[in-house]
Symmetry: none
Subunit: 410 residues, 2 copies
């Protein structure tokens, strides 16, 4: 594939039709094929996925480029047809949007969290002992009340889960080219925020002033006595799926970062889903939404990735089985096109995201079925779409199979 044609061709060819597309993203779904070590997909019993695989076609896609391990943000953008390398979307803006907070053009956000430092200022716990949300939230609110503004810049602190929060700076002349203060290690002090370009000098200065006040305010706290910042970022200029693809999209996802991706893409967010939701709860939300105006659905399952990160392939397999049990309810809705995949691989033996190509299954009219009778990495590597399908082509392929892309050229 030469250049990424999506920004040019999708807006030109997309047309609104009554057909409906469902993207199921099981986070970190893929594994690494190693002799004698079955992957979670190979361990799990998933008869309904296997039936879907029999009707559809399989492949493994490359999230960014071979050898590149994607974070969740880049992984998701690729699936929806946006090149993350061209976009450079920061994690800060994703987290903030994920908390339901709007990020306007010109705002700068950072991922923030409470941490613990010793008397000498060196970090002893980068996550403040994973302080409870109930404890951290009022502290974040009090900190924001104490530091509402620096110069002409409004400071917003939006509490997240446990020790995490989002820092939002709103005011004139802000630029996101500011370095992380999180040193990514304990035993050292937090770093000073520095401007990577002259234009970001004000943002770095305001951030440094905020941190000075925050350190003073938090002094004496047993756990959350300091703050770390990373991923300074502004809202990227990008078309939504409504604009680019003439879709009315809906997201069903429990965790902030994924909702952040969804909002940037112009998706509505289904109500009634929280980090405590089961897959069944998410499918119930899908059923409720099915009568509505949406024609593109993004259903996100988190548990596969968490289990992979913990190196627990059996638990990962159980999450896949949990999804498989709900698949008949999804199929009863008769979506025209279903894509089942992950946003990246998280092989249990690696306990981390990996660069391995990601299994996927596409079912819909005009999909050419292959001979696969099961859905796992091996079947996908040998499937119709091959072992090295470009991620950016998943979205146009799904659109095409749903009859939503007109002919290019007369």
């Amino acid at each position: 594939m030469a250049l990424d044609v999506n920004p040019v061709l999708i807006p030109q060819l997309a047309r609104t039709t009554p057909s409906r597309i469902l993207f199921v993203v099981m986070d970190g779904l893929g594994g690494c094929l190693q002799p004698g070590v079955p992957t979670a997909l190979e361990r799990a019993k998933h008869p309904h996925l296997d039936a879907l695989a029999t009707e559809g076609a399989l492949g493994r896609y490359v999230p960014i480029a071979p050898g590149i391990t994607p974070g969740s943000g880049p992984g998701h953008f690729s699936i929806f047809g946006y090149d993350p390398v061209a976009l450079e979307v920061g994690r800060g803006v994703l987290e903030t949007l994920g908390l339901g907070i709007d990020v306007a053009p010109g705002d700068v956000t950072a991922r923030a969290n409470f941490a613990t430092a010793g008397p000498d200022g060196r970090l002893t716990d980068r996550r403040a002992g994973r302080i409870a949300t109930e404890e951290a939230t009022p502290l974040a609110r009090a900190l924001n009340a104490a530091v509402p503004k620096i110069e002409d810049v409004r400071i917003e602190i939006h509490p997240g889960l446990q020790h995490r929060f989002a820092l939002v700076l709103r005011g004139p002349g802000l630029v996101d080219a500011v370095s992380d203060t999180d040193p990514q290690a304990e035993g050292v002090a937090p770093l000073a925020p520095t401007a990577a370009t002259p234009a970001a000098a004000k943002t770095a200065r305001v951030t440094a002033a905020f941190l000075e006040k925050a350190y003073a305010f938090l002094r004496g706290q047993p756990k959350a006595n300091t703050v770390l910042l990373r991923g300074f970022s502004g809202r990227p200029a990008m078309p939504t799926l409504r604009e680019r693809a003439r879709l009315t999209p809906l997201a069903i996802a429990a965790y902030p970062a994924y909702l952040g991706v969804a909002r940037l893409l112009g998706m509505d967010v289904a109500p009634g889903v929280s980090p405590k939701s089961t897959v069944a709860d998410e499918v119930t939300a899908l059923e409720r939404a099915w009568a509505g105006p949406h024609d593109f659905f993004f259903l996100h399952v988190k548990g596969t990735d968490s289990a992979g990160e913990d190196g627990d392939e059996d638990r990962k397999a159980r999450v896949i089985e949990e999804f498989d049990r709900e698949l008949p309810r999804i199929r009863a809705l008769r979506p025209d096109v279903i894509l089942v995949t992950g946003d990246h691989s998280t092989p249990g033996p690696m306990k981390a995201h990996s660069f391995h190509a990601v299994p996927f299954l596409l079912r819909g009219p005009w999909v050419e079925p292959d001979d696969a009778r099961t859905f796992d990495e091996r079947a996908c590597a040998g499937g119709r779409f091959g072992g090295w399908f470009p991620a950016l082509s998943l979205f146009p392929m799904a659109m095409a199979c749903a009859g939503k892309l007109a002919k290019y050229g007369a």
Copy 2:
């Protein structure tokens, strides 16, 4: 795969680790699969390569783009993750660097060689009867002493093997957009150097003045009575592998052009290797270097290409077998990741470089083994990496398998 992501992502993600990567490049390794005509890899017995293939995964990579036949320079750059089309590295600069001569920004170099012309000025032998190095070297030195400078431009002549030498121009206002004087045919006179852009006018003028003096100086020589120039080029602005990938790389190669590539990429050059070295000598140099600080090794085997160019598949097979016998010594060093491949294909029946995809074998942690039990073109075309793997992805894939690439985005 969208754009070439290496220039953006490798500098961002590369991290130095103790793991060591070995790239074995058997020059022109690939053949052309034709019914009834076994390739050199198919003719050769290579049990140790086959064992490595069993442990690792195979593929065929596309050096530049399908249908494009690469020279050695572009072929090598691709393997190391640099897009040669974006770089436009000239052969002149490669040869000059390969002779151990530094090329600074602003210098212009050309590949040069002595040739024989008749009394009418028309070429009768483009290679001056492959005059012996012992004869050509003092002649080149004398020519340089006679023409040390043109205008404010210093002229340097660096003798190579046989009739070959490198011409280096150093001075202000030089630009490499000058046409070859080698007409690539006998029976015609050498061409005049012409400037392809107005900025190159001075360089063309200086070159023409040099040639006029050189022709006069060489008049009366029995063989080497004229000079041909091609591949005018300056040092390309490019990051080294140290800068781009945080590696400490070492090259083990015998011939100037490959050492030139290696030096441009910031590689150290292993001592004790010359064009007379055997593969065993090169492996000895690798063994000696193994205790040192390097974490990336490039071992170049020349004989496969020379045999392919001569159309001698049996000799090419014997070079492969010669390498195979030394492979256990390499494996005893326990490199973390091994890539075995060529820089392009040189099918014996074509007696030339070709556009055919190049077989490769990757072995390392987190490489997903395929079912291949032998290393040849057919097994590679059906291997894990498929038959059309992008050359620019070989380097990041090797880095990833060695644990040298961090996650992209959180």
